[in-house]
Amino acid sequence: MRRRQRIAYLYLLPGFLVYLAFVLVPLAHTVELSFFEWDGISVGRWVGLDNYRRLLGDSTILSSFAHAGVFLVFTSVVPVMLGLVLAAALSRHRLRGLAVFRTVLFLPQVIAMVVVGVAWRWMYTDDGVVNQLLHAIGLGSVTRAWLGDFTWALPAVGLVGTWVMYGLCMVLFLAGVQKIDTSLYEVARIDGAGPIREFRHVTLPGLRQEIAVALTITTIAALRNFDLVYVTTNGGPGNATNVPAVEIYRLGFREGDVGLACAVAVVLTLLIFAVVFAITRLAREER
């Protein structure tokens, strides 16, 4: 047993070495750098926890984490809920052309995020598609240049995140639904359950694992969100859509404040770990 186990570890070694070199070492290096004041060239200076203290006292950085929280709602919570609704609707009835629906709804996932960002940036301009639609339905009074509005820029970009992610959630859930024993649905129907009760007591429990996976993927995407914000608003107007990943980029590459950038990166990593850990724990419960 022991011998076999040791050999098993030997098989893991090549993979682990690659993981060590390209993930763990850089991660440890980032943690290490977060204790230095360093401009990226000249000799760094050990400052202990100073960068973390600066982080906590910097309203711009703190607000970027708050914005990440908003993105969490738009890019994770809403898509998962939308995905569930869509999956429930699409799985209940045998639709003709289901494959077409599925493909169309999944399409945002296929497009590169930068392209998505540029396309939506155009749609959100003062004479863009969004405002044209609003005019068409008689809501001309609410039109504005959405990405330049201090109140609406963040929800506007968040909505793009929803659009990108809900298709992925739906496909995951549709696959999950197919694995639920159809006899459970039959029993529920015989017992007189309506579509909502059926969803709550059969579909939802059956999808527990898929929901955990979807939440994990979308949460990570939401919290580390860089490209979407960078392309659409670059954190503006003011700092209204600034997120930690953009802040890390600004600090590290533009402002030459590598230590503080690493500190933000470490906090972001811990935050992602914590949220994902909570999700997996929740998914495991009641099993």
Binding site: I41, V43, Y124, A145, T233, N234, P237, G238
Partner: protein
């Protein structure tokens, strides 16, 4: 059951600890302290002669794309024709990546001999501090570079040894051209308003014209500010008119005691604010991309647009003379010409270069009258004294050429305000965006920006 679990957990923890220790070891072996200290290359005797008896290969890295990139390539070819034993290999990197890489590139063992290095603290400062680029004062004296540029113009390429402030100290590069901010105007629309561009002699007359345009149902100032930097040029060009020029420059250079909290700056910010609240500036500016704003101006939306000469080629090509360029008028008519503007990103010599003489000789060639026509053809705004390039009549280029000459003769370059600290771009731009959105006052903007300045200079 619990026992097994406990044992397993212990084993797992032990393994995890072991891994962590291994990682720590590996990392520690790399570098206990990041960065490296480069000793200054001892400045030996220099020569302005290019040796002709040996094969010499230099590398040059830059981010000039399009016409200006072609001009650099042509200059390299011409220089190689003059010195057949010299080869210059050009490494182009797009600007978006260039700033991120330049520190790494210049600290590598195979650093390019010549590198384009933006002024101030984002690129030049760290390279000076890391002693990765070579002071060029000896070559500048030997070649007589200071006589070729307008008074004080080369100061912006000087840096103090501690890299805390610049504008004085050693010279670290030379620039092939200049850039400046001014006002593009739609000729037909201005005419319809009954205003001659020459008649806009001061800012009062300019503001009156804005009011007239607004009353006539025109958009007075077109602006796309989604990227946050464009409106900053509008503000700083106003500051250049209202405030004391030396005070502005000292602030940009990081000289002790400089401050932005001055009446002239306040007046400039308040003026911009009043333009915004009167609807003179495109109301959707913060949600419109810069290029889209330019496109709108070209399509005829907007009487004026305040931005740099970098769009002049596009304006002339697409508007075919329908737009002109003038400097933002001074606060008082007849005052000397002032504008937000500077030299283009200079070329510097690596302190690791084995052939500094040849590198300097090429830079000297790039800033010679001989190279000037090639640069002008590539779209550069000539910066040399006595430069005689002429633009087609009725183009915006006429205006940029004349504007540059006026401002340099008056030693009136106000430089770029985001040069002041490494983080000033991020701080100032978002503050101006807030000012445009009605979320920040003139005083609040000045305070936030000055706080950033104080933090950096106090370090």
């Amino acid at each position: 059951m619990t026992k097994v679990l406990v044992r397993r957990t212990v084993a797992r923890t032990a393994r995890a600890a072991l891994c962590t220790a291994a990682v720590a070891l590996v990392t520690a072996a790399c570098s206990p302290t990041p960065g490296s200290d480069n000793s200054t290359a001892t400045a030996g005797p220099i020569s302005t002669a290019v040796p002709s008896d040996e094969k010499i290969t230099l590398t040059l890295t830059d981010y000039e794309a399009g016409g200006t990139g072609d001009a650099i390539v042509t200059l390299i070819k011409n220089f190689q024709a003059l010195h057949p034993n010299v080869t210059i290999e050009r490494q182009y990197t797009a600007f978006a990546d260039y700033g991120k890489n330049i520190k790494l590139v210049m600290s590598s063992d195979k650093a390019p001999d010549i590198a384009q290095v933006g002024q101030a603290h984002v690129m030049m400062g760290p390279l000076v501090k890391g002693k990765l680029i070579r002071p060029l004062d000896d070559y500048a004296a030997a070649y007589g570079w200071s006589d070729r540029f307008g008074p004080g113009l080369l100061d912006q390429l000087r840096f103090e040894d501690d890299a805390r402030s610049f504008g004085s100290g050693k010279l670290y590069g030379a620039s092939v051209a200049g850039n400046l901010v001014g006002v593009y105007y739609n000729r037909a629309k201005l005419k319809a308003l009954g205003v001659e561009p020459e008649a806009i002699a001061d800012l009062t007359a300019f503001t009156d014209t804005l009011a007239k345009a607004k009353a006539a149902g025109e958009l007075p100032i077109q602006l796309g500010n989604l990227e946050a930097w464009p409106a900053n040029h509008l503000l700083s060009d106003l500051i250049a008119q209202y405030d004391d020029l030396d005070a502005v420059r000292n602030w940009v250079y990081g000289k002790p005691g400089a401050s932005l909290d001055r009446p002239g700056v306040k007046q400039a910010a308040a003026t911009l604010q009043s333009w915004v609240s009167n609807g003179y500036v495109a109301p959707s500016a913060n949600g419109t991309a810069y290029d889209d704003g330019v496109s709108k101006f070209i399509k005829g939306e907007g009487v004026f647009m305040v931005t740099g000469n970098w769009i002049q080629a596009r304006i002339d090509q697409e508007m075919k003379g329908a737009a002109g360029f003038m400097l933002l008028p001074p606060a008082k008519a007849g005052a000397p010409a002032r504008a937000t503007g500077a030299l283009t990103s200079p070329f510097a010599v690596s302190s690791k270069s084995k052939h500094p003489d040849v590198a300097a000789a090429f830079i000297n060639y790039m800033i010679s009258q001989e190279a000037s026509p090639t640069l002008f053809k590539g779209g550069y705004l000539p910066a040399l004294n006595g430069e005689s390039s002429t633009a087609g009549a009725g183009t915006a280029q006429e205006g940029t050429l004349e504007g540059w000459r006026k401002v340099t003769q008056a030693d009136g370059m106000a430089l770029y305000m985001d040069w002041a600290t490494p983080s000033m771009g991020d701080t100032l731009f978002s503050e101006v965006q807030k000012l445009l959105g009605g979320k920040q006052s003139a005083d609040g903007l000045i305070k936030t920006v000055q706080d950033d300045w104080n933090t950096f200079t106090a370090k």
